[in-house]
């Protein structure tokens, strides 16, 4: 009987003793991770062509309202964003006569028109502006954080037109040669790691 009691007591001690397999409280931490890839995006412009209409007054020079500082035309590029440091590049070409005549450009005539291209509501520091004269005008802007278009949307405004001479210098009151004029503004958002 003594032997049996001893066994019983030993059994109880085993059950009561703390061991690796038993605990009053257990805990576990599960670490979770995820990633967001750096990216930028832009929607399609509300108007892909900013139509300025007839550029000239009856005297053949630029209309006075087109040379003013107020915007002559604009479009909104919706849902523009970059979720990481990035670079915004704006390239522009002067409005150029699309079908120039075969003869040499007279000094008193213009076949190109420059303008201010102003991109608003992106940079916290103000509009990004570019006034093209040649063929490779661009404005490159680096931003070190995520940005999206502010209220009103990313807006491109065209203003303050001026005629260019053969050397692509601004000269007022040049007469514009007849025809269609077309310029291009290209806005690029790209991650800039």
């Amino acid at each position: 009987m003594l032997h049996r009691r001893t066994l019983l007591m030993a059994g109880l001690a085993t059950l009561a003793a703390p061991g690796n397999a038993h605990a009053n409280s257990v805990s576990q931490q599960i670490d979770i991770g995820a990633t967001v890839a750096g990216a930028c995006g832009m929607g399609n412009p509300d108007d892909e062509i900013i139509e300025l209409g007839d550029l000239t007054d009856p005297d053949g020079t630029l209309k006075g309202d087109l040379t003013s500082a107020s915007a002559s035309g604009s479009t909104i590029i919706p849902d523009a964003w970059c979720n990481t440091p990035h670079k915004l590049t704006m390239e522009a070409t002067p409005m150029t006569l699309q079908a120039p005549p075969a003869y040499a450009q007279p000094s008193y005539m213009a076949r190109k028109v420059t303008y201010w291209a102003r991109l608003k509501n992106w940079s916290p520091m103000g509009a990004i502006s570019l006034r093209p004269h040649g063929g490779s005008d661009q404005s490159e802007n680096e931003f070190n954080s995520a940005l999206a278009a502010q209220s009103g949307g990313l807006t491109l405004e065209i203003s303050q037109l001026e005629t260019l001479n053969q050397s692509n210098n601004e000269v007022s009151n040049l007469m514009l040669e007849v025809g269609d004029y077309k310029g291009t503004v290209t806005i690029t958002l790209a991650t800039n790691p």
């Binding site: 009987m1 009691r5 019983l8 059994g11 109880l12 059950l15 009561a16 690796n20 397999a21 038993h22 605990a23 009053n24 409280s25 257990v26 805990s27 576990q28 931490q29 599960i30 670490d31 979770i32 991770g33 995820a34 990633t35 967001v36 890839a37 750096g38 990216a39 995006g41 849902d79 964003w81 979720n83 990481t84 916290p124 954080s145 995520a146 940005l147 999206a148 502010q150 991650t191």
Partner: protein, 212 residues
């Protein structure tokens, strides 16, 4: 648990049983001693180990008592990490469900033999580098989610959102044994903001304690 046993037993002196004894004259004295011893033993047995039905006093008893303490098995997993994958779609918006590994079995047979309390704390996914978002009208560095625990036959919803500070404690009213797993789901950001780029880290802390 409590059990009681009564043992009644008569012990005979060691050696061959009395019926097998061979008595010789020279051994009469010894025979007498043996008989006396046997008689004494029987008397002693009768007085000390009498059956309850014929005894006038309580029989001696030995109480065998055993207690099963409440306890839980241990979670022995180390460095459990879930990679939820990419959080955003092509538009930079938060995905509607995690693309990566969002479920993990913590134990195939975790048990507690008594009622328990299960506390789940969920820390949101935070960007590892961007601690302050400059354009906080458009972007966020925080992604919330729901952590759901499943355990054996527990029928209640053991879910906690990472928006809940300090987590939530659940009462499990009875012992459980079975598979325990954690699932991360329902990614969410305030105001449908875009998460800024980078790595995100969060954690779920699970504590199971005996209720008593």
């Amino acid at each position: 648990m409590k059990d009681k046993y009564s043992f009644v037993r008569a012990t005979v002196a060691r050696g061959a049983p009395p019926s097998s004894l061979t008595l010789r004259p020279a051994d009469e004295f010894q025979e007498k001693i043996v008989r006396t011893t046997l008689l004494s033993a029987l008397l002693l047995g009768a007085s000390a180990y009498a059956l309850p039905a014929s005894a006038e006093t309580d029989p001696p008893s030995i109480t065998v008592q055993s207690t099963i303490p409440p306890y839980c098995s241990e979670l022995s997993m180390q460095d459990v990490t879930l990679d939820l994958g990419t959080l955003t779609d092509v538009n930079g918006k938060l995905v509607s469900q995690f693309a990566g590994d969002d479920t993990r079995e913590l134990a195939s047979s975790f048990y507690c033999n008594a009622p328990t309390k299960v506390k789940i704390e969920a820390d949101p996914l935070m960007n590892d580098i961007v601690t302050t978002v400059d354009d906080d009208q458009s972007f966020t560095n925080r992604v919330d989610y729901t952590a759901k625990l499943t355990w054996a036959n527990v029928t209640g919803d053991l879910s906690v959102s990472s928006t809940v500070d300090d987590g939530t404690e659940f009462d499990i009213p009875q012992a459980q044994i079975g598979t325990m797993a954690i699932e991360i789901s329902q990614p969410d950001v305030t105001g449908n903001l875009r998460p800024v780029a980078g790595g995100y880290t969060g954690a779920v802390r699970l504590t199971i304690s005996l209720a008593q």
